[in-house]
Symmetry: C4
Subunit: 191 residues, 4 copies
Amino acid sequence: MHKGRLEAFSDGVLAIIITIMVLEMKVPHSSDLGALQAILPIFGGYVLSFIYVGIYWNNHHHLFQAVKHVNGAVLWANLHLLFWLSLLPFASGWMGENHFAKWPVAVYGLILIMAGAAYYILVRVLLAGHGPESTLAKAIGSDRKGTISLVIYAVGIALAFVHPIIAFAIYSIVAVIWLIPDRRIEKHLAS
Amino acid sequence: MHKGRLEAFSDGVLAIIITIMVLEMKVPHSSDLGALQAILPIFGGYVLSFIYVGIYWNNHHHLFQAVKHVNGAVLWANLHLLFWLSLLPFASGWMGENHFAKWPVAVYGLILIMAGAAYYILVRVLLAGHGPESTLAKAIGSDRKGTISLVIYAVGIALAFVHPIIAFAIYSIVAVIWLIPDRRIEKHLAS
Amino acid sequence: MHKGRLEAFSDGVLAIIITIMVLEMKVPHSSDLGALQAILPIFGGYVLSFIYVGIYWNNHHHLFQAVKHVNGAVLWANLHLLFWLSLLPFASGWMGENHFAKWPVAVYGLILIMAGAAYYILVRVLLAGHGPESTLAKAIGSDRKGTISLVIYAVGIALAFVHPIIAFAIYSIVAVIWLIPDRRIEKHLAS
Amino acid sequence: MHKGRLEAFSDGVLAIIITIMVLEMKVPHSSDLGALQAILPIFGGYVLSFIYVGIYWNNHHHLFQAVKHVNGAVLWANLHLLFWLSLLPFASGWMGENHFAKWPVAVYGLILIMAGAAYYILVRVLLAGHGPESTLAKAIGSDRKGTISLVIYAVGIALAFVHPIIAFAIYSIVAVIWLIPDRRIEKHLAS
């Protein structure tokens, strides 16, 4: 089975997720600057979510460069990842609408954990089909960054109940860690 | 005529259907957990609809792997399928919004039947253009799963008027049956 | 310049237009069948608009099969066509929301005329770049169907002020005419 | 790394941006022509934004024709551009909803500046990876049009506080300048 259509479908879903999030920022009826200020929290959530979807797209892109073939299990592991990412616009909007209240911020973190876990599962399913000697296996290596992220998200969720802004800051730090592109795969593909 | 653009267009429509369904989950204005609980039925409908669109995408993907050429009739049979699937977000939202009342659940089942029938027609139109000795014909075989699904949907719709949750459970069972990927085609392509 | 990206972008826009139109059918808050009846006019408009976008996608698909190369003028002629088609969801929603009142029905017809004219322009721009001896020129021939459609739309708009349903019937008849796929191009590509 | 998926993802995002903008034109509840007149300012904003997204798609298309390879930095520079363009529907809706009041018009100009700057950065990042002797470098040349546009946008923003319509006219003039396709790249690719 070719990976082309899986990539195209994923690109489509991610492109739509990243774009419909902006619809959560409702156009204000007033025309003064104060109207913009009122939606600033929603904008903040939008920026972080945009970056996260961008990170997933980048990593997905890198990952599938090393993939040789896909099967039914990969299709579903991929859809599972897209499912959790599709909830980001909702979680992001809820968080912004309520000015970073504790429950919305915690739920946002939960979506990040689930998406991170889904990505982890996708990688395992792909590895199972490629073997430990494949370019893919070498390129992924120990995938420590993925595991650490899950732990940090969990810490963030717990701290949301101390103060939600701490949680938001922690989610942002994980994003910064991932903004550094996955050079492991690039390196192995080049060599 | 090449099948590439038909696949790309279908991927696009399915990607959008699967993603805009999440817009039916309106962001609650309250920030407590109770607000989430109130949209739980909509979330339940979203999960089932997501899985159904995923199933159709998977089957579409498998089906067209064995397709050699398409014509005008195939394009329209495909659009007909996409038409019924495009109504899923509406039916799903109506069902969730009304906490699985009988009419919305019955209409949801009707959409599933129509989509199932449209898929059946698409397969027939493709077979007519490929002949009984084609890889496609061998890969599809008797297509018993498709026919049985239509019968189960009909039973589900009838039972929606006894209790809607029974109908919802029945639709979910059909989804589980289909979650098992269509190995027939994969097998024939490999051999 | 390759035509691939122009096709992909057009597929994307058409896929989104065809899918977001369904968002005009607002989920009713009541769960009885009467609620469905109330949105029946919107559904009627949706069906016709879906078919029209399907027709344009089909014809676009056929047309570009015979296209060898594109330039800046083609890109803009294509965007011009997409612009008018992007207004279909709005016109369709307005028409349904107001139960086929005269002005919305007339404006819907105007969008159809503009889209038809934009398609005509696109064909001319493509022909200018391919010459009268090209496969494209032979495949298109006299394009009588396109010109006649424009005239019928205009008649429909005028009759919208007699009775809007007559206009809607006329638009539907043009759709039926176009549902017959453009065999001219298929024939010339095959020969 | 191949540029194909970056192009496909960008096409997807731009196709969605250009199409969801039309959702800002809310379907009026009244059926007379006056209802259309009331949304005329929103329509005006829609037309300008549609043209701008079209220009960016065209230039992106031309630019990547000359691109040989992409890396992680290019992916992010491209996402950065898409981020600012994704804010166009919001800015466009705000401007139209408030009948071209000064602040919305100024913010619209700011989005145009940021998108212009993001495009400039994208070009620089691409040039850094291709070298001064590449087809890309020759095709882009001095890129005076891009720099001048940024200056004109800034003038437009300042004049929005004198009279917003002047600013809107200035933004429209820049659009007209860009409607002339980037023949430099076409020329260099042909030679």
